[in-house]
């Protein structure tokens, strides 16, 4: 009997939850704010769906009812990707250790 591909995706999903669980517990509390901004940025990988939707019209029609939603989603996700990664980088650059020469 063949296994439905859905089951494979479900397995990936469940295992990823566990990976996430253990990885996030090891995040130091002082970096919880960068954690939130970086998870924000990576969840915007939803842009892959937006790109597929935006290019759905093929070469003929660029703006159809479904591709317009795709384009809008691209803008929203792009704000998040650039904003999320850059603000995380800005924050992380500020975390410094005590100078040793003191």
């Amino acid at each position: 009997m063949e296994i439905d591909p859905f089951i494979f995706r479900l397995s990936i999903f469940i295992l990823s939850i566990f990976v996430g669980y253990y990885v996030v517990w090891s995040v130091t509390p002082s970096l919880h704010t960068p954690l939130m901004s970086v998870t924000n940025a990576i969840s915007s990988v939803i842009i892959v769906g937006a790109i597929i939707a935006a290019l759905s019209g093929g070469s003929g029609i660029i703006f159809s009812s479904s591709s317009i939603f795709g384009f809008l989603a691209i803008v929203l996700a792009a704000v998040n990707i650039f904003g999320g990664f850059l603000v995380t980088q800005r924050m992380l650059a500020m975390y410094k250790k005590k100078k040793k020469d003191k």
Binding site: S16, L31, S44, A54, S56, S59, L86, V87, M91
Partner: protein, 464 residues
């Protein structure tokens, strides 16, 4: 690009996202982690372009929209002050939620492109995943918008409650399930629109009864929702990168909510049901007579600290509001020059989001190895000479340890009262967000400094 190759590439980008979070286990590896995240994102976007393989004029528009959104995001990221980080994160969550809704709508209108069937005849599993993605996305969006408005101060941070609120919310949640069920059996687009509208409504209703001080939980919860929405869409699109990321973000947000709830000794449901501090204790505290309070000025505070050998700083949301972190660091520098040992104590729920205070101190160039979590430092208060409480209140309230009647009873608090003397910078004697009086104000060894946090810190530095 073949479907198998792109699936592997998506898997790689998923792994890079895991490494991005793994990097955050220490500040040294965190910058590298962020780089992994960026690489993962670039891979995912590039693979999508290659697998669609449609480099028509539509492709140009995709790049234009991408650049447009990207420049807005970059602009915000560079301009935002660190004190506004909670608002920013709430705002970003709303965008993820809305993007998920838009992708779901697009997939519903035009399922062929995604290989999900034809309009009116979408595969059952895909339809359920789509409905979940759209509903959770819509809840994330409207909930985050309310959180944003509350944090920004456009909307009052006070909980908004009304009679029958919980019944109404429960009915709406049930209706979402019923709507999804009928949507699957009829494939009606009207039901799909109603489902989205109702989800927007419930997101709004869930967040309005939650007060300002509970925002750390709310933001973490919405963080989690945005992940589950992404995962829902990931199942629809059969995309590994999205499924992995959705699961990571979903569990990350859930853990943060748990940590925040534990920091307040409240159950998750207690926070979500909302209305904390609105009723029970206001009556009890009113009949308390005015107790004497010792108040001082910057000169007194400077005198106390000059004669101390160790000082512990307890920052809170008030420091963020007054933007006092730089002034504080200058004060600490002066103290250090006088050979006074200084450390910082951070309560898990200090501020408006997890890790809020740490970011502000980092911004003010405070080395992160001088900043300690509650468990690490709580025993040190007994040996310290001065506790300098700046903008914190409820997290220092000893009532959490002594009075079982108190709404914050059992909440872990910083043992500030064990210090030889306590300096409390505060604008007035008003109670904190939990709405309860802080016994610490009336203690023998407490000196209240009534002033704006920034101004007071600057004055103390001058007097040192």
């Amino acid at each position: 690009m073949s479907a198998n190759l792109s699936a592997i590439m998506y898997l790689i980008s998923g792994v890079l996202f895991i490494l991005a979070l793994r990097g955050l286990s220490s500040p040294e590896t965190s910058r590298q982690g962020n780089l992994f995240g960026i690489i993962g994102m670039v891979i995912a976007v590039t693979v999508t372009f290659l697998s669609v393989g449609n480099f028509s004029s539509g492709f140009i528009y995709v790049l234009i929209f991408l650049a447009f959104g990207g420049s807005i995001g970059a602009f915000i990221a560079y301009r935002i002050p660190m004190t506004a980080m909670p608002e920013l994160v709430a705002g970003f969550h709303s965008l993820v939620g809305l993007a998920a809704v838009f992708v779901a709508i697009s997939a519903f209108i035009n399922p062929e492109v995604f290989g999900l069937g034809t309009p009116g005849n979408i595969k059952l599993a895909s339809l359920i995943e789509m409905a979940i993605g759209a509903a959770v996305g819509a809840i994330t969006f409207s909930g985050s918008v309310i959180a944003f408005l509350k944090l920004q101060g456009i909307m009052s941070g006070a909980p908004i409650t009304f009679k029958g609120q919980h019944v109404l919310n429960a009915l709406i949640l049930i209706s979402i399930i019923v709507l999804t069920f009928y949507l699957c059996s009829t494939q009606s687009s009207n039901l799909f629109w109603i489902l989205i509208a109702v989800s927007f409504l419930i997101g709004f209703l869930i967040i309005i009864p939650i007060g300002g001080a509970d925002m750390p939980v709310v933001i973490s919860m919405l963080n989690s929702y945005s992940g589950w929405a992404a995962a829902g869409i990931g199942f629809t699109l059969e995309n590994t990168a999205l499924i992995v990321t959705g699961a990571l973000v979903g569990s990350s947000g859930a853990i943060l909510s748990y940590i925040m709830c534990k920091g307040m000794n409240r159950s998750f449901f207690n926070v979500i049901l909302g209305g904390f501090g609105a009723t029970e204790q206001s009556a009890a505290d009113k009949n308390k007579e005015q107790k004497p309070v010792k108040s001082g000025n910057a000169d007194d505070a400077a005198f106390l600290m000059k004669n101390a050998s160790s000082v512990i700083i307890v920052p809170g949301y008030g420091m963020a509001v007054a933007q006092a972190q730089h002034a504080l660091r200058e004060m600490v520098d002066t103290l250090k020059k006088n050979d006074i040992k200084v450390s910082y104590a951070i309560h898990p729920v200090a501020g408006r989001m997890p890790g809020h205070m740490n970011v502000l101190l980092a911004e003010a160039n405070v080395p992160y190895d001088e900043v300690f979590e509650l468990e690490e430092i709580n025993n040190d208060f007994a040996n310290a000479d001065v506790a300098f409480v700046i903008g914190a209140n409820d997290v220092t309230n000893p009532v959490a340890k002594t009075d079982p009647q108190s709404p914050i009873y059992g909440m872990p608090v910083l043992d500030v009262e064990k210090c030889k003397s306590v300096l409390f910078v505060k604008r007035s004697l008003s109670p904190g967000y939990a709405g309860i009086d802080n016994d610490l104000f009336y203690k023998e060894n407490t000196l209240m400094l009534f002033a704006d946090a920034k101004k007071m810190t600057e004055d103390i530095t001058k007097n040192l």
